[in-house]
Amino acid sequence: MSIDIRNVRKTFGDFIALENINLDIASGELLALLGPSGCGKTTLLRIIAGLETPDSGQILFHGEDATDRHVSERQVGFVFQHYALFRHMTVFDNVAFGLSVRPRRSRPSKEEIRERVMKLLKLVQLDWLADAYPAQLSGGQRQRIALARSLAVEPRVLLLDEPFGALDAKVRKDLRRWLRRLHDEMHITSVFVTHDQEEALEVSDRVVVMNHGRIEQAGRPDEIYETPATPFVTQFLGDVNLFHGRVDAGQVAIGDYAHPIADPSATDGAAKVYVRPHDIELSREPGAALASGTIEHIHAVGPIVRVELKRDDSDTYIDAALTKEQYQSLRLMLGDQVYIRPRKVAVFVDEGAHI
């Protein structure tokens, strides 16, 4: 089922949690809402679920206005950040809850409920825990039970709030692959909230990056990563080096250095230039470089060699990530002076600079 979010706005007192959000979620899509804490992503998810009411705007489910529909009638599955399993019920009763609270005429028989619950528990590979209580489960197991519980009511939409946030790194990785596979099998429209860019980029079909209650950019993971639309998105998606320079006639100039840029539409003016550590080439030649620097630290454990340089023209530090081969062929040593040449830059001309 598709979800359309139209002009949704939400405030908590003076705090603007969401400002005029517009977003269409296609049927069967796995969408990630990505952003730092306080950016409004969880509020948006709760508004879709009906756990919060927007101040203005609409939520459409399959083209139908669902804004005023009560949370219990929206047929959504919601997985809470801290699982929210019913602590006094067994795993079986937790998963059966949604079916057993249905009014008598639409409630399945006891045997049917039993069958469906056991099928779901098998799906999450925890059928052997049916009689356990939530307190006896590990974090990853609780998360899977929470997911099974939300799937039991055959929701039209699955909403997950920081689904892997409270788990340790290893379980997290397993579980997100597992979620991806599950989604590919069931094809249920799913939205999950995360502050972990790696998670969002790896699992989802589409990523929506949010900041200060606004959508900064929405697009496929590779699109977002390769062509970030704003400085915020660039910085949020991973480590990045920042250079301040000027765009002038198809070139970005920093001090004595100039580097050609591909984007012909860039207007001239003061600009921020972002380069990811793995997009930096260190060279003994000055051609097309952005700056020069002195090597202050080399961290050579693992397949990637991290080099920390101090720029010669300012006190800022630059991180470069080289492959072992590049590092060895350059024969870099501490204290060497080298040129910093970007393979790929993201240039944002300061809009305020024109005024």
Partner: protein
């Protein structure tokens, strides 16, 4: 909060020397013996001083029986009323943001902070013959002061905070996540209350009810003001004890007092059991403590 017992093991580094420990423990024990244990024993001792027969006779005296009945009736009305009020108030305070919430929280504590005598006087002022509603009540032949309704009202007032006070911190700590999960799964508000909220708070609730009941049966001050001390009609057990004592009927007074002392002992035993069950449940909570603290501060 009563439910939060400290479970941390103490290490040698944080423990006082043996002397200090024994002195402190000894001091506490002497104090407890002098001020709690000796009086408690003396109540039973005095009650049984002239033998079982007189003790039983004192308890089966019609006036004593009447006082016991009245005390039970009062508790039977006051406790369920405060159970419902307490749950409703705790629910409202723990789950919703509304104007006047701080005021409501303060008002719940009011019966704890004012003297029970004043609480009784409030009702005399309202419903007494010279009170605001007195003439109207007299016209319609409704008796509140110096009658059972007054006693019940005063008891309800005095025992109001017990259930609510017990539940508010508990419900705030548990957060609303489970209830929201139930709603999302399609449960109605009523189903959510009976199947999720109530099972989660049942031990805290029971604890509050036990304390509420003990106070309802033992209340003296407020009830004394509104009762009128009519023998065989408006005397509860505590009032009856006072009257008998003032008449130098020590056997009767201590026999009835032994009932209240027995009630206290039963209450203590139940309270300990419920506390123990509640900590068992507490330990098994699915949500880690720091997460619950965060949830509590978010609501």
């Amino acid at each position: 909060m009563a439910l939060a017992t400290n479970q941390t093991e103490r290490t040698a580094a944080t423990t006082e020397s043996v002397v200090v420990r024994y002195v402190l423990t000894g001091f506490a024990l002497v104090f407890l013996t002098l001020f709690l244990f000796v009086p408690l024993v003396s109540v039973f001792w005095e009650a049984l001083a002239k033998g079982w027969d007189l003790y039983l006779a004192a308890l089966t005296d019609p006036e004593a029986v009447n006082a016991i009945k009245l005390t039970l009736i009062t508790a039977l009305i006051a406790v369920p009323l405060n159970l419902v009020f307490g749950v409703a108030a705790a629910w409202a305070i723990a789950r919703f943001e509304f104007r006047g919430k701080a005021l409501l929280t303060t008002l719940i504590d009011l019966p704890f902070s004012i003297s029970p005598v004043v609480a009784g006087l409030i009702y005399v002022l309202l419903f007494g013959a010279q009170g605001w509603l007195g003439p109207w009540l007299a016209e319609h032949d409704i008796k509140i002061i110096f009658a059972i309704p007054g006693i019940v009202l005063a008891t309800v007032f005095v025992t109001f905070p017990f259930v609510a006070r017990e539940l508010i911190p508990l419900m705030q700590a548990q957060g609303a996540d489970e209830e929201q999960a139930a709603l999302v799964l399609g449960a109605s508000g009523w189903q959510t209350f009976w199947r999720v909220t109530l099972p989660n708070i049942k031990w805290g609730l029971l604890y509050g009810v036990i304390l509420c009941n003990a106070r309802a049966m033992g209340e003296f001050g407020a009830v004394s003001v509104v009762s009128g001390h009519i023998r065989g009609q408006t005397n509860t057990v505590p009032l009856h004890v006072e009257i008998l004592y003032n008449e130098y009927n020590f056997i009767g007074a201590f026999a009835c007092a032994s009932l209240l002392a027995g009630l206290a002992l039963v209450t203590l035993a139940l309270k300990t059991f419920v506390e123990w069950r509640a900590t068992q449940q507490h330990k098994g909570d699915a949500v880690p403590l720091e997460a619950r603290a965060r949830l509590a501060s978010a609501h």
